[in-house]
Symmetry: C2
Subunit: 525 residues, 2 copies
């Protein structure tokens, strides 16, 4: 079979949006890009790295093909170019740039589509004997090089594991298979009156297995928690057998092994299904905008809600730059020049007490208008990268988290590091807080500047400076994007060599032949 | 130095209460024991197992003593009998019975009292070379054989690590050293206006390090969460070096390694300090009792609060037997015969909405009387074991947790298993729920019956039957007591051999010579 025969819609390789329905940049944005010195590139190929290499690689041997087909059936083994290309890399900006450059390095040799846990388990059990490395593929939306192993590989696309297996209305839990996409999960749960409440920006493309493997966090995290907080059980297929975890919401039976598998990014095994906490579907939703004089003023307000409540379901605070860039009409903010925009949302009735806290902290209620604007555009940002890259802009995001007392200095340090590294093409650095906890919060940065001649190297330099700033200022290298290959070195620095060795020992136990995601998450030993 | 020179009050070996101030059983309780056939024993020695063996063991070599003294100082190395005896075993009923029998097996060869993380690290670094196994000792309140390693050992008593190291009022976090006892932690935080909110029944004796290592859960868990939910950072000393974890409340930087250390029960390293989330100290507290027609009716009510809120800070529901046994005056319950007692408590203002949910679920408000009675006696239960054992009763507790839909069958299965195993001495089996989550709850059982000739074997048989019932009915082997040695076999069954191997690989990485708590938590390989 080929990619186009598959029942679930696939994102377009190298573009988030459908090329048949391109997203246009607002005219104001195009003007703004001119101020950054952005020029429409004259050629599609803008990287010197690793181009056109992979096409020459040998394909699979007959024995390998025979093994794979024997497990999943010949019709669910694809080695045509279209299928392989569609499973190459993820959706970071450097991934997109490589797609645009026609860089075929990192293509899988084939794609298999198992239909069940047992088929996944059989693949894992036999791949070492057939000298095959595997990359599990759920939504394919990694932005950290999570689909780029260190050697040739076969992709295990989990889209046929697309079932709501069980719904326990007494316990309010649901077992969802790993390949269920976000919208499909919500649709299946909605039929029974429930919601998962997990709405990351990658919602349209990402899947349950990826949410779990990479510790996703959604836009409603203030109300529903992160995905790793929703998981109460999971099934992990490993090359040495299956691990079944989660007999209770919480336990004192040793370490929480669910939290060892969550975030393991396919290095320990393939998560084939997850048991998640579900909640009744809300009958009403409210979103509204608030204005604060400054990011610092807004920071105090959102911290107050995070620590003393009552928290809304959605809570976001943009800094001055993000507010200015995102608001086409600055009059929306009122109150004269400057100021920052916060968005709050409620799944369920509007909570006046939340508004009272924001008012007491100096906020001005802007009403539902800005809230609805945000709601309508909430999944739009990834689409905008396509036309921005078309125009010759470099645009990428990065994120971190820290305890509250470190947030202001961390934000300054990361911004200065990026600006310093991109001094040849002065960037705009936008920032917002979109995930809060009693003890701290995330910081999400968007960087826009003109592309240099080698935009991949250009971004790497900025990212490296940002990583260093995060480490020095006491942040974590990722709040919700994960490690992949892009963050691997920073991850080693963050947890230290002894912790890395402990995780490598877990991997060696479960995957002794290193066939799963080699080089992803952990350095190979 | 000897035990009595140490600044912190030590629980009496083999008794929870102070022998100078014995707790008397109510006359009604003594009468009730007669109905169970309980007879005051004629002798203090009631077990045939392993008596008087350890005194004959060789002590430490001069080189071993020299090493230990070189790290902690000679004045903080104790090898007198009093100190060793005080660090023998924990506080399970079988532990108490052995203490009473004068069973000196399981005594450490010595006790060291390091004063700092660095001294702990130095002990760990050198013990393999000196052929010494170590057992970390925090409060010493294990009820699952958590202080009974598989070979001779030296106890590392952490009581001198008793400092509040740092308090971050912006992030609302505090770093507390491992040896800080519950009341000391609250006193130090209260000086700054904060509370940890962790009040397990072992509160008077247990310490921060033990809370973390064994995943403690306190009586206010509905409001403050479990201890493992309060921890945002920790420092672990291992034989191979120090691991420092927690740069943010939550992270997508790989697995959550904090949750790998929490619950590791000293098998991977010694937790020397923990960073916990703190909250402002409440200015008011309210406790009250509620009556439900049956445990099943109460179960529906507490589940409704756990799933749809608003949760109080304390939420407990006793079953019919526990209600009948605990209420000296059955008229408190009103409403005729039968019925069960629930207790709710609020740190902060009374929340009428919580009461409305209970009323709608068929509950009757009994007012503050039963609430205050519970509050005053909340740490009393462990004291009652002393006079109950004196009278010849066998009394012990066990606990589990599961998803809501399994709770009724799990409760029945465990009760029947215990009653079946103790048919020669028909027991009372009391049960309550005291920890709730959206997806499930804990079940806590208290068993009282007449002692047989060999009460240790008698309890083992009951516990074994209960463990089997828990496994079959889908519960976890422990919600908050931990694994130790008593639950080790059941733990292996619960997580499976592959997960055990993964944890053994972590242990081998961090503790390659198996000097830390050998045989505790994990079987030795």
């Amino acid at each position: 079979m080929t990619e186009s025969d598959l029942p679930v819609v696939q994102l377009t390789p190298g573009r988030w949006g459908d090329p048949a329905h391109p997203v246009a940049l607002p005219a104001a944005a195009v003007d703004a890009l001119k101020h950054l010195g952005v020029q429409r590139p004259s050629t599609d190929v803008r990287t010197s790295e690793e181009t056109q290499g992979a096409q020459d690689r040998p394909g699979l041997t007959e024995a390998q093909v025979g093994f794979l087909a024997s497990v999943v059936g010949a019709e669910y083994l694809a080695s045509d170019l279209e299928s392989r290309w569609a499973h190459t890399r993820g959706y970071s900006t450097t991934d997109l740039l490589r797609f645009r450059a026609g860089d075929t390095s990192g293509m899988p040799d084939a794609v298999v589509y198992p239909a069940s846990h047992d088929e996944v388990a059989a693949l894992l059990a036999g791949c070492a004997d057939h000298d095959l490395a595997l990359v599990p593929y759920s939504g394919g939306t990694s932005v950290v090089g999570g689909l780029a192993p260190s050697r040739r590989f076969v992709t295990v696309d989990l889209r046929r594991l697309d079932q709501l297996v069980e719904l326990d209305e007494i316990s309010r839990t649901a077992r969802l298979q790993a390949g269920v996409r976000g919208p499909a999960a919500e649709a299946m749960l909605a039929e029974r009156g429930y919601t998962l409440g997990h709405f990351p920006q990658s919602y349209e493309g990402a899947s349950i297995g990826g949410y779990a493997a990479a510790r996703s966090s959604g836009q409603s995290s203030a109300g529903y928690g992160r995905f790793d907080q929703m998981v109460v059980g999971l099934t992990l297929a490993t090359p040495r057998g299956t691990v079944e975890l989660g007999r209770a919401p919480m336990s004192a039976a040793g370490p929480d092994l669910r939290q060892l598998v969550l975030g393991s990014e396919g290095a320990f095994g393939i998560i084939t299904s997850v048991v998640v906490r579900i909640r009744p579907r809300p009958v009403e939703r409210h979103f509204e905008g608030w204005r604060f004089e400054s990011f610092d003023a807004g920071l105090t307000a959102v911290r107050r809600l995070a620590q003393d409540g009552p928290l809304p379901t959605v809570l976001r605070l943009s800094d001055e730059v993000e507010t200015a860039v995102n608001l086409a009409d600055p009059d929306v903010l009122g109150g004269g020049a400057g100021g920052v925009l916060a968005i709050i949302g409620f799944d369920g009735p509007y909570n006046r007490a939340t508004a009272d806290v924001l008012t007491a902290a100096g906020g001005t209620n802007l009403g539902e208008g800005p809230g609805e604007t945000w709601r309508i555009g909430r999944y739009r940002a990834p689409y905008l990268r396509d036309p921005l890259l078309d125009e010759g802009a470099l645009v990428e995001t990065l994120e971190t988290a820290a305890f509250w007392s470190r947030i202001p200095a961390l934000k300054t340090a990361v911004t200065e590091a990026i600006v310093g590294a991109l001094s040849a093409t002065p960037p705009l650095v936008l920032c917002h807080i979109s995930h809060v906890y009693e003890t701290g919060a995330s910081l999400y940065f968007t960087v826009i500047c003109a592309q240099s001649d080698d935009p991949i190297a250009q971004w790497r330099s900025a990212k490296s400076a940002a990583n260093q700033a995060i480490a020095t200022a006491g942040g974590t290298i990722s709040h919700h994007h994960g490690i992949g290959t892009d963050h691997r070195d920073a991850y080693v620095t963050e947890i230290g060599p002894l912790a890395v060795e402990a995780l490598q020992a877990v991997k060696t136990t479960l995957d002794p032949d290193n066939i799963l995601n080699p080089g992803i998450l952990l350095p190979e030993r």
